[in-house]
Symmetry: C2
Subunit: 357 residues, 2 copies
């Protein structure tokens, strides 16, 4: 790209830089006026590593922002300002950058974030996007990963586990629509044949005609994670330790346990699986894939058990799929237990956020 | 790389994250405690675009930080905290990351910067490094590019023009040591033959035995730009408009002129060229290459002419190679004039920070 093209690109992003301190992206640095604490995070996504080359450029833009929003929300903070490093692949048409900028701008607006700076360059390699995101904590405390105490409850909030994992595998063709459909039929048949139909929750019975919408939903969960900024309020009020789940529930719970010097006990039956994920696991899918797979982008936090009632009574907790999934215990690592309290062996908890897993 | 390897990498960088808010790089986000204004900038460097694959990994680390320090210094600020996005190429040995981390850490320390966050991932493409740098302004005002006023002086501070350009071309083999040596001999011969020897400044007469040291210096200027944080004080006290020169003097002066809605007149004889660059230009090199080439990393600023004496009397101004190179005038664009005031035509002022130029 020529210098002129870079100027054009800056102009595509400038409309999303509305604060005075952003200086319309025409300066060496942005000026940020703050009082007290801010939180700041940065995450990079790389084509072929964190997203597929065939993913729509609009959702790539959304994912680049949202993986960072997820980190800020997990700290009980409201995202306010972003910087974007766009490393555009020579193999992609420059014209596509306008589409990227539009989608990125839409998402900035959705999350109430102002673009204050960034950098555009080209690369002979894959499209690579770093976003640095600054947030304003809602409370005085910013919960760390390291603050979990033995005896506390372990909570998830912000969405369901497994949608993105199924969506990725649908997109990669490693899981077929037919398999998902078969799964559903099989489960219904099983349940009926075992006279268990009455125990099957209604929500597992999705009408046939909604099936494609369901597949689209799963793929969207992978493409443009559903990050709920409203979680920040509950995290800010109640969380002792907190982090986002982005590399798989068990892996990330392990990081929290390690940082806090405690063990985490997770009851598999309490995990808020996405309905299709629950159905898939119920019909022969390996549930351990769902809790070690990635891209859920929900918040994992711990809180004293005496706050249990207040947390459950929090405004919006239902819609945010709040779920108490376990306990903080002495020791180390993560123990996942079944309904009988038996530990489930978890292989391959070493997810490194590669699409290959 | 596996999750374990990423943990090892984090541990390599953690010693450089000493502030409490950095949380030893073990959290989703850093906490930054600030009062008032901060400045924030981000720049990416890509192997094969901004540095050569054969450049030493130590200087690549230094360059990644310094191109950002340069932006902060140009805003009259002191760099305080950095975030690093390290996108490591699959084609490079992981072991080299330790060398990168060590060099990056040394440079952080040199500039008094704390590492507060970042992200490590791998890529099938070239090594790509983004640094986001936060600075604390030394004064109440943060000079913008847009603040130049007609009638003001145009100044350069922080170093010489042309070293990095020569260094890059030496490194690429497009300029030979022999050519530089010939140049020097030729210039001396010319000057002597024209009985101009007495007008030749002594500093242009480098003893033969220092020649390799000179080549090393030029290459170092390209590899790990000499950014002088002491410039921030003078910029902060006196600059109306300010920016760093990183894409070539004329190109960057053009950006400042455009942002301010003014013209800039630069006297070529007043530009503080590096001695070898001056010599190279004097002996048949095209001086316009030196003022449109890149990677100088000095500060360009404007200031009211009544401050001229105070600026020149500033502590350290000599060592920082302070030079008054022109005037802000009505109109637009950059006019470079020779000793007679004649405009010099500048082709190819569209440098886009590609090594190919």
């Amino acid at each position: 790209m020529s210098a002129d093209e870079f100027a054009v690109i800056r102009d595509l992003f400038a409309p999303h830089a509305t604060s005075a301190g952003a200086r319309a992206l025409r300066d060496d640095a942005a000026v940020l006026e703050t009082q007290g604490k801010v939180v700041i995070t940065t995450d990079t996504i790389v084509e072929g590593v964190h997203f597929l080359a065939s993913d729509p450029i609009e959702t790539v833009a959304m994912k680049a922002l949202r993986v960072n929003v997820s980190d800020i929300v997990a700290k009980g903070a409201r995202p306010v300002a972003a910087l974007l490093n766009l490393v555009w692949s020579d193999a992609r048409a420059s014209a596509e950058i306008a589409t990227f900028a539009e989608a990125f701008g839409r998402d900035l607006k959705f999350f109430g974030v102002d673009l204050i700076g960034g950098d555009t360059t080209s690369t002979p390699g894959p499209l690579t996007i770093s976003v640095t995101l600054i947030g304003k904590p809602l409370g005085a405390r910013v919960p760390a990963r390291a603050d979990a105490q033995v005896g506390e409850d372990v909570w998830l909030i912000g969405g369901e586990i497994g949608s993105a994992w199924l969506g990725l595998h649908l997109r990669k063709g490693e899981l077929s629509l037919a398999r998902l459909r078969e799964g559903r039929d099989e489960m219904q048949a099983q349940m009926e044949s075992r006279a268990l139909a009455q125990t099957m929750p209604d929500y597992l019975k999705l009408p046939q005609e909604d099936f494609d919408a369901e597949a689209a939903w799963l793929m969207t969960a992978y493409l443009a994670p559903f990050v709920r900024p409203e979680c920040a309020s509950i995290v800010s009020k109640f969380a002792s330790a907190s982090m986002d789940v982005s590399d798989g529930l068990v892996v990330d719970a392990g990081k929290l346990a390690e940082a806090s010097g405690v063990g985490l006990r997770i009851e598999i039956n309490a995990v808020p699986f996405a309905i299709p994920a629950e159905r898939w696991a119920f019909t022969g899918g390996d549930v351990r894939k769902l809790i070690t797979g990635g891209d859920d982008y929900v918040v994992l936090f711990t809180a004293p058990s005496e706050l249990r009632g207040a947390i459950e009574a929090s405004e919006g907790s239902q819609a945010l799929r709040l779920a108490r999934i376990g306990m903080v215990e002495p020791g180390q690592g993560v123990t996942v237990v079944d309904a009988k309290g038996q530990a489930i062996a978890i292989p391959d908890a070493g997810y490194s956020h590669k699409l290959g897993h």
